[in-house]
Structure formats: C-alpha cells, structure tokens
C-alpha cells in the first residue's frame, strides 16, 4: 500500500472525520455490505417495519371497521384457489376480514409491543447495570441478587405469570389496558440480561484511566455514568436488544395465542393465529398460516440481523 492508513482510529496526523463517514468507513459497514445474508435480512426487516408503520395507508381494507365487514365475504380462500377474489388476495377469516390487512395491522401491533418492551427492559436493565457496576457495594449486591434470582426462572414463564395474574386480577379492565400490561410483563421478564451485561462492562470501564481522569476533574458520578461509561457499553447492549426484539415478538405472540395477550378487538399476529386455529380441521388453513408466516419472516430477519451484528461486533471471530 502506498498511502499511509488514514483511518480515524490511527495514523499520525489523521484528522477526525464526522460520524457518518466514520461509520461508512468502519469494519461494521464493510462486513454488512459483504454479507449477503445480512443485507437480505436487513432489507426484509426494513420492509416489515415499513409495512407495519404504514399499515393504515397500505392496507386495502380496514379490518376493524365493523360496519365494512360482511359475512358474505367470510372464509374466502387466497388468490389462486377456487372461490377467491382479488380484492382479498390472502383470503378472509370467519368474519369476512381481509387477511392481508389484518396481517399488516397485526404486524404493526406485534412490532410496537416488541419495541416498547425491549425499550422498557433496556432502560431498566441498563440503568440498573450502570448503578450496580459503578456504585458497587450494597447497591451492586442487592440489585444483582435480584437479577440473579429472576434469571433462575425462564423469561417466558415470568412474562406469562405476570401477565396472567394481572389480567386475572383486573378481569374487567383488561381489554383496554392489555397492551400496557403485556409491554410491562415482557419488559420485566427481560431486564436482567441487560443489567448483567451492562454491569460487567461498567465494572471493566470503571477501572479504566479515562474514568479515573474524569473523577479527578470532579465530574459527578451520574454524569460519568451517562456520558462516559454508557457510550462504551452500548455495543453488547445493541446485540442483546436486537435478539431480544425477536424474543419479545415471539413472547407476545405466544401470550396472545394462549389467550392472555392482545384481544381480538386489537389483534396482534399471535391473536390472529389463535383465532385461525379453530378452523384448521375444517380446511381453512390460511386464516392461521398466513399470519404465522408473517410472524416467522419478521422474527427470522431480526434474528439474522442480530446474529450478524453479534459476529461483526466480536473482534475475535474473523
């Protein structure tokens, strides 16, 4: 190579480029471009998110407007089969709702719940981890004990139990508030992972010179945690969050399928699958299978992205 390396990370005399050009020049983006799996997964995930966000505009029908539904449209099969109509390309369910629209709206709910619960878990977990790792002592012992105890139980069980019990207890109110209950339940079941990882990273960072330098200057503890340590521990958090997103979506779908998740008036993909389950034996398989397929595609692409992200951010696997 004739020109000396001028990457932002090294080289005498290198000037400091802005964050976008640093990203485009980074190993991360390079790895992404070169990995066909990552690119496809990224594209699919992007499509899912776009489809979900813009569901109200993309969906050909509004599946929740009771007035627009007509029972004469019910049980229509998907398009190439006999008896189908192009207006309902993926068929209709027992109430005459268009499957495509239902899936778009359902996917939207699934994604929203997924994101919110991961956000909740991340905020609680990262905050706890920072406090425990930086503060040490009693706070560390107590917080990590709670996290460890919770980790002895599977997350899905905790989510199920929390959701189930709150739903049973608030029997009357549950329909309207269900989405909050679910976000809370799933978030609560997932925070310990974030907390443990962030605590570990915080402990490592706390021992480093730049933190000591900041303390010597007199910067306050909370500020050090937020502005110095937090950016440096976010790498693994991002990986966990992506994988957690897939898990959260599946958990929500499972809860909805079991009947303790989102109600049929505001269905997620899981609720739709549950609804369609009753018609498997009578031959209307599409009511269950299409929402199922949508769920799998969404989760698979997120999982692929998460896997790729984990490998890319791990400098030891080359």
């Amino acid at each position: 190579m004739s020109a000396p390396a001028t990457k932002a990370r090294g080289g005498i005399g290198a000037h400091s480029p802005g964050p976008i050009s640093r990203f485009l020049d980074s190993d991360l983006w390079y790895n992404f471009r070169r990995s066909p799996v990552a690119v496809i997964a990224g594209a699919v995930a992007f499509l899912c998110i776009a489809g979900a966000l813009f569901a109200p505009w993309l969906a050909p029908h509004d599946p929740f407007n009771l007035a627009s539904l007509s029972l004469s449209n019910s049980f229509l099969p998907p398009v190439p089969l006999a008896g189908s109509q192009w207006a309902f390309p993926l068929g209709t369910d027992d109430q005459g709702r268009d499957m495509l629209s239902a899936i778009l709206y359902g996917g939207r709910i699934s994604l929203v719940v997924g994101f919110c619960s991961v956000l909740f878990a991340a905020v609680v977990g990262v905050g706890t981890g920072l406090l425990a790792g930086y503060g040490g002592g009693v706070a560390d012992a107590v917080l990590m004990r709670i996290a460890d105890v919770q980790l002895t139980f599977p997350a899905i069980l905790i989510a199920l139990v929390v959701d189930g019990i709150i739903s049973a207890a608030l029997h009357q109110l549950h329909e309207a508030t269900e989405i909050y209950i679910i976000v809370f339940a799933i978030g609560i079941s997932n925070w310990p992972q974030f907390a443990r990882t962030v605590r570990g990273s915080t402990l490592v960072e706390r021992g480093k010179d730049y933190v000591m330098a900041a303390r010597v200057i007199g910067i306050s503890g909370p500020r050090i945690m937020l502005t110095h340590i937090l950016p440096n521990v976010l790498g693994p958090v991002l990986v966990i969050a992506t994988i957690n997103l897939a898990v959260a979506i599946v958990t929500e779908a499972t809860l909805s399928f079991l009947g303790v998740g989102l109600p049929p008036t505001n269905p997620s993909l899981g609720t739709l699958i549950n609804n369609g389950n009753a018609y498997l034996f009578s031959g209307q398989w599409w009511i269950t299978i299409f929402p199922g397929l949508a769920l799998v595609i969404m989760v698979l692409s997120i999982n692929l992205l998460g896997d790729w992200l984990r490998d890319a951010l791990n400098p030891r696997l080359s």
Binding site: M1, P4, A5, Y30, S318
Partner: protein
C-alpha cells in the same frame, strides 16, 4: 548438515486493505545441539517464524515463499497429517503463558502420557512411568503423587516446568521456545532457563529460543538472530553480537541496556519506532532511524552479509563500501 534450515521464508497476511508482509525472506540455520536465540521487539516477527516452522500459522497468515528444511527434507507445505507427526515428535514447542497452555480438565500425567503414547507407541503403564520420570527431570517434587494432579494445583513456575516436560517427552530434535519465561516472576525465570538449557544439553536437543530479553539470550544461546520488521538484521555468535554488534540496530539495542558499572544521565534510546507492517519503507527497513544511513540504504534492501565474525544486513558492511568507509 544443519538440523533446521530456513531459506528466504516469507509470510503474508491478506487483509482487506492489502497484503501485509509479516516475514520477508528470513534465512537462518540451526545445527544439532545448538541454542539459537531470536531476539527483537514485539511485532518483529519472532513468534511468527516459530509458528511457521511448526506449521501452526494462524489464518489468514500463509507462507508465501521460501523453504523450511528439517534434516534436509522440506516440511513447509506438507499435508496436515504428516505435519502432525512431525509436531511433538521431531519439533516441540513451549508457549508463553503456562496458566493457559495446559488443559484444565486433564491431569498432568494424562497429558504427558497421551503425548508419548501418540508418538512413541508405548503402552499406558509405561507411559505413566515415563511421565513420572519426566516430572522428576523437570524438578517437580514428589512426582509419583503430583502426576495425578490437575494444572490448577501447580504454581506458574511449576506449570511451565510441566510444559517443558510436555515439549520434550516425545524426544524431538528441536524445541521452539516462544517467550518461555516472559510470564513468570524474575526469580523463577532464571531457574526455568537453566532447566531448559540443561535438559537440552542432556538430550542433545536444539532450541530456538524466542524472546525480547537480551539477558536471557546472553545466558543461554550459542548464536543469536536479531529481527526487525520481519527480517533478520544480524546473525552471529552471541558473544560477538553483544560485544561488537555489526548492525546499527543491534548497536542501538546494546547501547540502551544500562550497565551496572556505568553512570549515565539518561537512558539511551533509538529514535523513532519500528514501522507498521503496512508502512515498511523501501530498501532497508531500519533506514529512517539509522544513525549511519546513506543513500543506498533507502533504495536497495540489504541481505545478510559477512561483517567481521557475524553477519549483518547492512550496506555499511558491503565489501566496496567497507573499504571506502574504513578507507
């Protein structure tokens, strides 16, 4: 015939920003029973040379040129199964960190026995007997009991002794010792080096001793090769290289070692730093820092040439110039 001959060995690492040449036409030989030291800064290529010889270059590194001959036969580029038979049996290795070199779930006796059984084909009971014997040879007290101990039950120095036993137990002709004492306490270092020296002498094994510590070399080696930026810049008997270094880099190294008898204001240093693999200057790699540099140095790369009783890769010693310079 020398035991090991390395001829113009080159090792490259293809990376996404181009090919990095980590070893550039390295040549030397080791005779039977001799200890050759390889000394140089971190990153000079010493460990890589050892790894290339024993066939354990890590991906994406590969041998891009040159030959390695063991007792006259080529061993670079051998199929994996044949190379495996050479490792341990004809060339042994000692690594740097005794705390991670031993499998934590196997007793030391088992690790010794398995090595010997694989290479020497002896039955289990005999292997165990020899394992105890080896432990005694490397100075582990109460070897009949310790043979069933796990690695974590030994201290660092003791573990390194076990590693030495493991390297020698299949009776190789050559042992490559890569920084064998760097991870140990100073007080233990001397013991381990003495042990290695004695065992090598007793068993007639040659040693390629890789280290950045000139003191260890002075104690132990017969000849020494000084490496810089992937090349050997000086090669010769230890006493000569230390007292009358022929290459300016070696001179700089020797000068920077403080002597007990001297009084000095500041430690002497060599200006600058070893170049990164992606930015090795053309010609002699040491030329930017060399106090004796002249025009030819930056244009042509010098090979090892005779310079008194040693060899140095320095145009200063080229015959015509030597006359002109000493003229």
């Amino acid at each position: 015939m020398p035991l090991l001959e390395v001829e113009a060995l080159s090792v490259e690492f293809p990376t996404r920003r181009g090919v990095l040449k980590a070893l550039d036409r390295v040549s030397f030989a080791i005779r039977a029973g001799e200890v050759l030291g390889m000394v140089g800064e971190s990153g000079a290529g010493k460990s890589l040379t050892g790894a290339a010889i024993i066939g354990l270059l890590e991906r994406p590194g590969l041998i891009s040129g040159g030959r390695i001959l063991l007792e006259g036969k080529r061993i670079d580029g051998l199929p994996p199964e044949e190379m495996r038979r050479i490792r341990g049996r004809r060339i042994g290795a000692i690594f740097q960190d005794p705390l991670t070199t031993l499998d934590p779930l196997y007793t030391v006796g088992r690790q010794l026995a398995e090595t010997m059984q694989v290479h020497l084909g002896i039955p289990g009971a005999e292997a165990r007997r020899r394992a105890v014997d080896w432990l005694a040879q490397v100075g582990i007290p109460a070897p009949e009991e310790r043979v069933d101990s796990y690695p974590h039950e030994f201290s660092g120095g003791m573990r390194q002794r076990v590693v030495i036993a493991l390297a020698l137990c299949a009776e190789p002709r050559l042992v490559i010792a890569d920084e064998p004492t760097t991870a140990l306490d100073v007080s233990i270092q001397a013991q381990i080096i003495a042990l290695l020296k004695r065992l090598a002498r007793d068993h007639g094994t040659s040693v390629m001793l890789i280290t950045h510590d000139m003191g260890v070399i002075a104690e132990t080696a017969d000849r020494v090769a000084v490496m810089y930026a992937g090349r050997i810049v000086e090669l010769g008997p230890v006493a000569r290289v230390i007292r009358h270094p022929a290459h300016p880099y070696t001179e700089g190294l020797m000068a920077s070692i403080p002597m007990l008898e001297e009084r000095r204001g500041r430690l002497a240093q060599i200006e600058g730093a070893m170049p990164r693999l992606s930015a090795i200057p053309p010609g002699c790699p040491f030329s930017p820092r060399c106090p004796k540099v002249f025009a030819r140095c930056a244009e042509e790369r010098p090979e090892l040439m005779p310079a008194g009783e040693t060899e140095a890769a320095c145009w200063f010693h080229a015959p015509a110039l030597a006359e002109a310079a000493h003229g």
